[in-house]
Subunit: 177 residues, 2 copies
DNA sequence: AACCCAGGTTCAATAAGAAAACCAACTGAC
DNA sequence: GTCAGTTGGTTTTCTTATTGAACCTGGGTT
C-alpha cells in the first residue's frame, strides 16, 4: 500500500497516521509542545538530519498542523508554531508520554513531571468517557459503524453491553459533531 | 541517529516511539483493539506486505506489547494478543482516533462510533488531570525535570502557574509511581 | 496423490533515510 | 568593503528499509 492512499482510507487511525505516523514527526511535535519553534533548535535537540527535518516540517505545514510565521524581517526568518489543529494533538502526545512513563522509564524514574497549573499538582493524564466521566477501558467500548464508514471490512466482533450508570457529561473542547 | 539509540533517550516520547512509532505498527495496534489476532487477518485487512507484518509482529512480541499464544495444535498455530502493556496503549489509540474524527473525517462523518457500555452512550474520549479532573490543555501544563532526567537539553521555557482550584483526584488504573 | 491452509521466509528492484558538504541572504565587526 | 557568523535550508552520494512476487513448511482434506 502506498502512503498517500492511507489518507483516503475510511479509518480515523489511518488518516491520522498519514499525518503524524512517523518517528521524527512525533518527536518534532513533542518539542513543539515544549515551545521549540525554530529549525536550528529542532535540529540541535533531535539530532535529525537537516533534509529530513525540512521535509517533515514542510509536510506538517501542508497539513495545517504547524504554521510558518515570520519572527523577523531582513533577513526574513520563520518559526514553526502549532495551529489549533496541532494543539489538538496534545492528548495524543500526553498519552504517549504517559505510556512511556509507566512502561519504559528507567530505574531512576520519569524524565519529566507534569504540573497542572489549574490545581498546582503533579498529575497523570487520564482518558475518560465524555458522557459519564468514567475512565475508559478497551473492554468497555463497543465500536460500530458511523456515517463515514465505507466497507464492513474494518468492523470488530460484537461485544455485549454491560451495566449502565448515570453521570453528567464532560464538555470536551471538541466533541463529536 | 539510529533507532535503537532512541530507546536509551531520557524522554518518554522517544522511548514510546521506539516501540510504536511506525505507521504499520499503529495500524496493527488499531486492529488488535478491534479483536484481530491472526497473521492472515492482519495481512488481509491492512494490505501490508508479509515480511513487514512478520517483522512488526516480531518486534511487538519482543517488546511485550503482544503475546504469541497457541490457539490450536497439529498444526501448531499462534495468534497475537495484547498483553497488559499493550492494552495500556488504548488511550494513545483512542486519542489518535479522536483527532482523526475531528480533523480528518470526510464529508460523510466519522467512520466509526464508540459506545461506552458502562453508560450506553456514544462518547468522545476526553483527557483530564488525574488530580483535579479538569480537561487538559497544553497551556495549563508546566513541565519540569523528574528523577529520570538526564541533561537540561530537553527542558522547556518556564510557564507561570495560573489560578488554582480544588477537586477530588481521579484514580487512574496506572498512576505515577 | 493432489490440493488447500496458515504462517511465515527469500530474493531482486525500488524508495527512503543518513552524513557531509554546499548555498543564499543577510548581519555585525573590523 | 570584506570577512566571518547566523539561520534555514538544498544537493549529492551512500546505506538501509520497504515492496512485490514467489516460495517453503507442516499439517489437513478429498
Amino acid at each position: 500500500m502506498r502512503w498517500n492512499k492511507l489518507e483516503d482510507e475510511a479509518c480515523s487511525v489511518a488518516r491520522t497516521v498519514s499525518v503524524i505516523g512517523d518517528r521524527w514527526t512525533l518527536l518534532i511535535l513533542r518539542d513543539c509542545f515544549l515551545r521549540v519553534r525554530r529549525f536550528e533548535e529542532f535540529q540541535a535537540r533531535l539530532g535529525v538530519t537537516r533534509p529530513i527535518l525540512a521535509s517533515r516540517l514542510r509536510k506538517l505545514v501542508k497539513d495545517f498542523v504547524l504554521a510558518k510565521v515570520p519572527y523577523q524581517e531582513r533577513p526574513l526568518r520563520y518559526e514553526y508554531r502549532l495551529t489549533q489543529k496541532g494543539l489538538d494533538l496534545y492528548p495524543i502526545v500526553m498519552a504517549i508520554v504517559h505510556w512511556g512513563d509507566i512502561h519504559m522509564a528507567g530505574k531512576k524514574g520519569r524524565p519529566l513531571l507534569h504540573q497542572h497549573t489549574n490545581c498546582g499538582k503533579t498529575f497523570d493524564p487520564v482518558m475518560i468517557c465524555s458522557e459519564c466521566g468514567e475512565p475508559l477501558s478497551p473492554k468497555q467500548v463497543h465500536v460500530h459503524r458511523g456515517p463515514g464508514a465505507a466497507s464492513p471490512r474494518h468492523m470488530p466482533a460484537d461485544v455485549p453491553a454491560g451495566d449502565r450508570k448515570q453521570r453528567r457529561p464532560v464538555r470536551s473542547s471538541r466533541a463529536h459533531p
